[in-house]
C-alpha cells in the first residue's frame, strides 16, 4: 500500500513538474487550476503514505532516511502549493515540483524502506516536534534554492537591466522571502534539538558532526539574511535591484542549501561520523 501511494505521489510530482513547466510557457488559468488539483492530490498521497506507515510502525514515520525523504517531498510540495496560490511566478512551481520528485526518487531508489524499530533515545515527544519543525524549513528552503537556481539561470540567459532582469530581481526577492519564512523554523529546529539532546544524552551540545553541521547551515542562512544589510540595493531597490547584488545573493543561497543537504545526508562521509550519535 505504501509503495502504491508513493508511486502515485511520484507520478504526481512528475506530472506537476512537466505541467507547471508547460504552464510557464503557455500560461492559461484552467491549466494552472488543473495542475493545482494534481499538486493537492500528490500531497494527499504522500500524507496518506505517511499515515499508513505510522499505523504500521506504531511510531511517527520520522526516523529513517527513507521516512525523512518522504517527509521532505511532502513539505516541498506543500511549499510549492502555498507559493503557487500566494505568489505565482512562472517556472517556480515546475522547479519546486522537480525537487519534490528528486526527494521521492531518493526515497524510492536509494533509501532503505524497511521499518526500523525506535531506539530508546528517539522515544520522545521531541521527535515529532523537532523533525517536523526542521522539515518544514527544509521543504521551504529547498523551494528557495530552486527559485535561486531559476534566478541564476534566467540571469545568465538575459543580459543588462532589461525586463528579463527585472523579473529575475523578483526571483531573488522571492528567494529571500522564502528564506525569511523558513529561518524561524530552522532556528526552532536547532533549539528543540539542543533541548532534546540535554534530556536524552545529558548534554545540550556536544559538537557531534550532525549538531555542528546543523549549526553551520543555520549560520550560513543567518549570513545570507544579513547580506542585504551589507550590500544595499536588494531590499529597498524595488524592481531595479542591481543585477550583481541579486546574483550574489542567489549564489549565497545555493551554498547555504548545499550545506543543508550535507547536514541531512552527508554525515556518514565525515571522518568523525563513527563517533556520531546521529548516524543511525
Amino acid at each position: 500500500m505504501n509503495t502504491i501511494l508513493i508511486n502515485i505521489a511520484f507520478g504526481g510530482c512528475l506530472v506537476c513538474a512537466l505541467g507547471f513547466l508547460f504552464n510557464a510557457f503557455w500560461p492559461r488559468k484552467p491549466i494552472r487550476a488543473f495542475f493545482l488539483i494534481v499538486l493537492s492530490l500528490t500531497i494527499a498521497a504522500i500524507v496518506a503514505a505517511m499515515i499508513w506507515r505510522w499505523v504500521k510502525a506504531g511510531h511517527p514515520p520520522l526516523v529513517s532516511v527513507y521516512e525523512t525523504l518522504v517527509l521532505l517531498a511532502a513539505t516541498i510540495m506543500l511549499s510549492v502549493f502555498v507559493l503557487e496560490v500566494v505568489k505565482p511566478i512562472r517556472g517556480v512551481s515546475a522547479v519546486g515540483s522537480f525537487l519534490g520528485l528528486i526527494a521521492l526518487a531518493g526515497a524510492s531508489f536509494w533509501a532503505d524502506a524497511t521499518i526500523k524499530p525506535l531506539m530508546p533515545a528517539l522515544k520522545s515527544n521531541w521527535l515529532t516536534v523537532h523533525v517536523l519543525v526542521y522539515f518544514v524549513s527544509y521543504g521551504a528552503l529547498a523551494v528557495g534554492f530552486g527559485v535561486s537556481l531559476l534566478h541564476l539561470g534566467r540571469s545568465l540567459l538575459t543580459t543588462g537591466e532589461t525586463d528579463g532582469a527585472d523579473a529575475s530581481g523578483d526571483l531573488a526577492r522571492l528567494a529571500y522571502r522564502i528564506v525569511a519564512f523558513a529561518f524561524p523554523f530552522l532556528t526552532l529546529g536547532l533549539i528543540t534539538g539542543s533541548i532534546w539532546a540535554k534530556q536524552a544524552w545529558g548534554s545540550y551540545w556536544s559538537w557531534d558532526p550532525k549538531e555542528t553541521w546543523s549549526l553551520i547551515t543555520w549560520l550560513l542562512y543567518l549570513i545570507y539574511l544579513h547580506l542585504p544589510v551589507m550590500v544595499p540595493g536588494l531590499r529597498r531597490g524595488g524592481g531595479a535591484s542591481p543585477r550583481r547584488t541579486s546574483l550574489f545573493l542567489s549564489a549565497a543561497q545555493v551554498i547555504a542549501f548545499a550545506a543543508l543537504v550535507f547536514t541531512f545526508l552527508g554525515m556518514r562521509y565525515l571522518p568523525s561520523a563513527a563517533e556520531s550519535l546521529h548516524v543511525y
Binding site: 532503505d112 530508546p120 524561524p184 533549539i191 539542543s194 534530556q199 544524552w201 559538537w207 558532526p209
Partner: protein
C-alpha cells in the same frame, strides 16, 4: 575610540565573525579532534601538525581560535544593539534576537566553566555516593550530597530479527564476526574486515523459507553465494573460498527497546525517594541530574548513569526562548506592523 566604536557597531564585523566561526566549525568536522599528537604528525606532516597544534585545530571547539571570534561576536552584538536601541515595537525583534545570542554565549561560558559531568556504575543492590569524572585523561571521584542505590535494572528488547551472520571457522571453532541486516535489496556494501566486503543482491521470503543471494568482494575478486533458511528453521550455510569465512541466515537478538534503572535516593541513612530513570526521562535532584546513559550487555544487572550539574543552563534556555521569540517577531510579526504603519 570613535573608530573602535564604529568597528564594533558594524554589522559587517558581525558577518565577518560569523563567516570565521562557520569556517572553524567546518574544520572541526574535517579534522579528527582530540587525537594523539603522533596521529597529526603522521597524517599531516610535522610542520603542518605543529601549526595545527598552535592554532589548536586538534581541539577546535575548546580553542582560543574559536573562543576569540565568539567573544568578539558577543561584544559586537552588544555594541550593535546599544547603538540601534529603541523602545519602538518594531525594534523588539532586533533587540531580542541580538541579546539572545549574547545570552546563549554567556550561558554556554558559565556552563563550560562550572559544568560537572561524570559516570556512575551501579550493580543491583549497590549504593554509592560518589561518581567518576574524567578530566584531561585523569580520573577523579566527586562526592554527591546523597547516596544512590540501584534497586533494579531491566532491559526490554524488540523481537529478534532475521539477519546474515558472518562467522569464522578456525580449528573447528566457530567465532561470529558480524551481523548484516536484511533490508533494502540490493543492500549497501558492508565491511567485513580483512579486506572483504559484502552486499545482499537478492532476498526472497515465503512461508517455505528465506533465500538470500550475496556478493563478497575481496582481493581475489567477487564471489557469489546463496543462503537458504527453511520454514522449519534449518539453515544452509555457505563457506567462502578463503576456507575460514562462513555465512548463514540466522536470527539476531533484537535491538534495545527500553532500559530502565529503578533507583532509591538516600540521605543520612534513610530512603528519601525512588525513581525510574530511562533515556529521555532523567532525574533532577538537589541541583544534580541523573541520566540513563548505558549498560554493559555482558553484565545486564549493571547500569551506567550519567551524573551532571549544569550551572548556566537557565541563562542558556532563556537565550533560546528569546531567540525563538525574536526571530518569529522579525519575520512574521514585523512585516505586518510595517505594512500597518505605512497604511
Amino acid at each position: 575610540m570613535k573608530k573602535i566604536w564604529q568597528i564594533f557597531t558594524s554589522p559587517k564585523l558581525a558577518v565577518a565573525l560569523l563567516v570565521l566561526i562557520t569556517a572553524f566549525s567546518v574544520l572541526g568536522t574535517l579534522i579528527p579532534q582530540n587525537a594523539h599528537d603522533v596521529y597529526y604528525a603522521l597524517r599531516y606532516g610535522n610542520r603542518l601538525a605543529r601549526l595545527m597544534r598552535w592554532l589548536q585545530l586538534d581541539r577546535i571547539y575548546t580553542s582560543w581560535t574559536l573562543g576569540i571570534p565568539l567573544l568578539l561576536l558577543a561584544v559586537n552584538l552588544v555594541c550593535c544593539t546599544a547603538r540601534r536601541w529603541s523602545w519602538r515595537l518594531q525594534r523588539f525583534g532586533f533587540v531580542c534576537t541580538h541579546l539572545s545570542v549574547v545570552l546563549i554565549l554567556v550561558g554556554a561560558f558559565i556552563h563550560g566553566q562550572g559544568h560537572v559531568s561524570g559516570f556512575l556504575e551501579l550493580s543491583e543492590g549497590q549504593s554509592v555516593s560518589e561518581f567518576q569524572l574524567s578530566e584531561r585523561g585523569k580520573i577523579r571521584y566527586v562526592e554527591l550530597p546523597f547516596t544512590v542505590k540501584l534497586l533494579e535494572f531491566s532491559v526490554e528488547r524488540y523481537p529478534e530479527r532475521l539477519a546474515l551472520l558472518v562467522y569464522e571457522v578456525y580449528d573447528r571453532r566457530v567465532k561470529p564476526r558480524r551481523f548484516v541486516p536484511v533490508g533494502k535489496v540490493p543492500s549497501d556494501w558492508y565491511d567485513l574486515g580483512e579486506g572483504q566486503r559484502l552486499r545482499i543482491v537478492k532476498f526472497t521470503s515465503s512461508p517455505a523459507g528465506d533465500i538470500a543471494q550475496v556478493e563478497v568482494e575481496s582481493s581475489n575478486g567477487v564471489e557469489e553465494a546463496q543462503l537458504e533458511r527453511r520454514g522449519d528453521g534449518v539453515a544452509r550455510p555457505a563457506r567462502l573460498q578463503d576456507g575460514h569465512t562462513g555465512l548463514v541466515l540466522a536470527f539476531q537478538e533484537g535491538p534495545d527497546k527500553e532500559y530502565l534503572s529503578r533507583i532509591e535516593i538516600r540521605e543520612e541513612g534513610r530512603a528519601v525517594t525512588t525513581a525510574d530513570i530511562r533515556v529521555n526521562h532523567p532525574l533532577h535532584y538537589r541541583g544534580w541530574n541523573l541520566y540513563q546513559y548505558s549498560y554493559y550487555p555482558d553484565h545486564p544487572w549493571t547500569t551506567v548513569l550519567e551524573v551532571s550539574r549544569d550551572p548556566g543552563l537557565w541563562v542558556l534556555y532563556t537565550g533560546f526562548a528569546l531567540l525563538a521569540i525574536g526571530v518569529c517577531f522579525i519575520f512574521y510579526v514585523k512585516p505586518f506592523l510595517r505594512r500597518a504603519s505605512s497604511q
